[in-house]
Symmetry: C2
Subunit: 533 residues, 2 copies
Amino acid sequence: MTQIFDNALLFNPAVGEWRLAAFSVDDGRVTIVGKPGALKGENVTDLSGARVVPGLIDAHVHIESSLLTPREFGRLSLKNGVTTVIADPHEIANVSGCAGIDFMLEDAKSSPADIFFMIPSCVPATPLDKGGAVVSSKDVASYKNTPSVIGLGEMMNVPGVLSGDPEVMAKLAVFDHIDGHAPGLSGEALCRYISRHIKTDHECISAAEGNEKLSLGMYVLLREGDAAKNVAALSKIVNDRTAVRCCFCTDDRHVDSRVREGSIDHCIRVAVRSGMSLEHALRLATLSAADCFGLTDRGMIAPGRVADFCILQDGAEFFVSAVYKNGVRTSSLPNPGSSLDCICPPFSCRIPAKEELALPNGRLRVIGLVPGEIITESLDSETARDFHKVVSVDRYRSEGFGVGLVKGFTFVKGAIASSVSHDAHNIIAAGVTDEEIIQAIHAVNDSGGGMAVVCDGVTTVLFLPYGGLMTPLFYEEVVTRMDDLFVRLMLTGASPAAFMNLSFLSLTVIPHLRITPRGLFDGDAFKDVPISF
Amino acid sequence: MTQIFDNALLFNPAVGEWRLAAFSVDDGRVTIVGKPGALKGENVTDLSGARVVPGLIDAHVHIESSLLTPREFGRLSLKNGVTTVIADPHEIANVSGCAGIDFMLEDAKSSPADIFFMIPSCVPATPLDKGGAVVSSKDVASYKNTPSVIGLGEMMNVPGVLSGDPEVMAKLAVFDHIDGHAPGLSGEALCRYISRHIKTDHECISAAEGNEKLSLGMYVLLREGDAAKNVAALSKIVNDRTAVRCCFCTDDRHVDSRVREGSIDHCIRVAVRSGMSLEHALRLATLSAADCFGLTDRGMIAPGRVADFCILQDGAEFFVSAVYKNGVRTSSLPNPGSSLDCICPPFSCRIPAKEELALPNGRLRVIGLVPGEIITESLDSETARDFHKVVSVDRYRSEGFGVGLVKGFTFVKGAIASSVSHDAHNIIAAGVTDEEIIQAIHAVNDSGGGMAVVCDGVTTVLFLPYGGLMTPLFYEEVVTRMDDLFVRLMLTGASPAAFMNLSFLSLTVIPHLRITPRGLFDGDAFKDVPISF
């Protein structure tokens, strides 16, 4: 039956204006948009002038980083007004390859929010990384005609692109839409990267970087994750002309942040607080993202498009009060139920003994955390203060572990470990004493994946049985368990971002200094380096 | 070898700015865009600060209306700075169906400008029209994977769309991109039309109409043809927000207008004279058109995109001084040579005798021309003054002819006839005396297609042997012959637009009153009407 929504103060991203309107919905699609009172029918909802905006779009996210499965992620997204998600299942692909990707695609079919996928382009992240799987160009091509697949995921192998590596070129040739990942890349190198038809970048951290990428034809995705928070710095690149070539994304963001702070709705709030107009922020979050990814059936409340929209709360700040997906109020949707099973390789770490964690004397390299960023600094132990030990343990091959130093964690006691450790998702741990670090690694390994805190002799674990990355629990339950874990985390003196920060320390595609099971890695020179200078 | 263009004052449509820059070209593609002086090489062209803009894009054109073949049209387009053409071979399709379309696609392969095609959706224009061919949904689908084909051509069958006609629906289902044609359509009917995923409209004649279509999610193509000149009226709908969803198109424009006034370059000049900023006009003419049609490899001078660009003349008005296609200066390109053969059905008219052109007494309907538009008015012979006789003769079936009256031609003597007569391309003629009208019809029929002027007993014909629509001559020669014809035309007292106006009088999909071989046609009621009230 035709539904009519009358007296909506409708935001139209195509023209950038609010206008009082009525609109009708048939079979989940918008049919007529007209003047208030103009549409007649039996099923009329009078919105009494409430503001209505198109459903929000998350332009780039790794669902696994939320710790949730796709269908549960979708259920949570709707609470934040996000009705369309563009996901890159890069994390599970590093653990279990195509089987992991297939799990994500299949489980997403039961998501109440629409989830589109980009196929991971860099599994493993670099030829040096040994994760649980390899996704070849042939594997990528096998997803070419999968309906929910719309492109190639972030191409992080910048050297491979610039050198014309045949396997990289073969992956780039599969899809028309290619997401990029070019942190700090500039000038000629950036031009050569873009010239391979790489369309987007979500790694900009400054307005200058964003403006350069925009002017060279890229779409810039403004990211507000848990570890990397770039929206405030990038909000000044958005104006009437560039708003059509910018989007928002959450990239890596835990379930608890999503519940407490939000998702793309949070990006909008941060942007507006940073001086962006609400209308520009809404443009980014709706039609600009739809256009960027070729999703011509959404992005605005207009005839023929999916009836995805949010009714806003009154008040100056942007908060959704009700969300409609395909014309159905999402608060009335049934729970999509338990996720599918996800079969992943077992954990088989060779866990180091205490004496194996000893470090040489003299000047040592120290990884420096950068607040609000995922890039790190390369520091010197002679000048750096207050650093801790960090250990990365191969979880797939019992082949060993690397030991390093990190500055920026605020531990006063205890240790933490996690099987979420980009991108290979080995076990990573950091803390005050070697004994506690080993105990935390044991806890994650013995649990078959998870996040562990060791403090005052007590070990607390959040189990992540799906590849050591995700839990099949409902998000409300996951948040409760995270709260328990984070209470323990706070006792160690670490900040709430400690797990997210820890998880990025082994990400070899990000400058400058990282840790892998082989030891320290120079993300600029793209090679292993010794800990001693 | 790498070419470098240095010290270019480059217009960047993505950010809407001019910036002094250097850029390099390899294998026809832009590779690096950098600061002036930053690129080193052996093959450097110093542009000394000249303005450089991306190659212009004509978003919708019927090449046949230029009277030229595709390759010759492409050669002429480059003179105007138009490096990409989106063509709908609707005219030749009405004459000879898929064979005509195939000729256009094949001949276009030798065009020095890139020509992409939309497959005609409405051949014949309405079920009542009897042209030379039918293009079925199955025919449309047969072009689905043709590389140069990017969508479905303007869907003019508005009643068929609104009623859900199965054949129309089948055509709409073939391609993602569907061009629209909805003159004057508004409100609920427009919404229902758009809800079939029809993306563009190039028939807007007022800012109100353009704004309504923009706000409902359509792309609006601002048209400057020979008969319909809408750019001035529509220029006020363009602002920083809407410029990304507007394009320019020439639709129907004779070769002589293209040579003397221009093409999309002319649209830019008209727009700027009407108050649009040059930067907005350039956005429409480049990146907005590329984005609208999914041509992600062009629209701006940026890495990886085709090296199509224009160097501008100094001075306030927009004129190109040099045009580069794939990095090659087009003035150095060889002539692409003679067009392919185009085999079309012969002319077999039953030409009326003088007494058959007699009209009844009493109040008669009169077609009223509207200056600068292709819509017509429906007038009354009791109040209208200075009307002439107009005759439409079936060229395919010897089935007959229709006779009507038209006001707006300024003949003082003589008659004209043409085999360009949208959309069925029967022979249409108008003039002062029945004898001269018949003589002009004879001239076109006996020539196997063309445009004829009869004046003072002398008959002058421009031969159009390709389906009665096009000539295989080089454009310079065609202009000379048109000049000869138009000198004769001027002697009749008619305006230079007379042939273009005449050619639209039988276009049944445009309101309000038209003429076909069956007689008068009511374009609103979509049915034949008698000449008497």
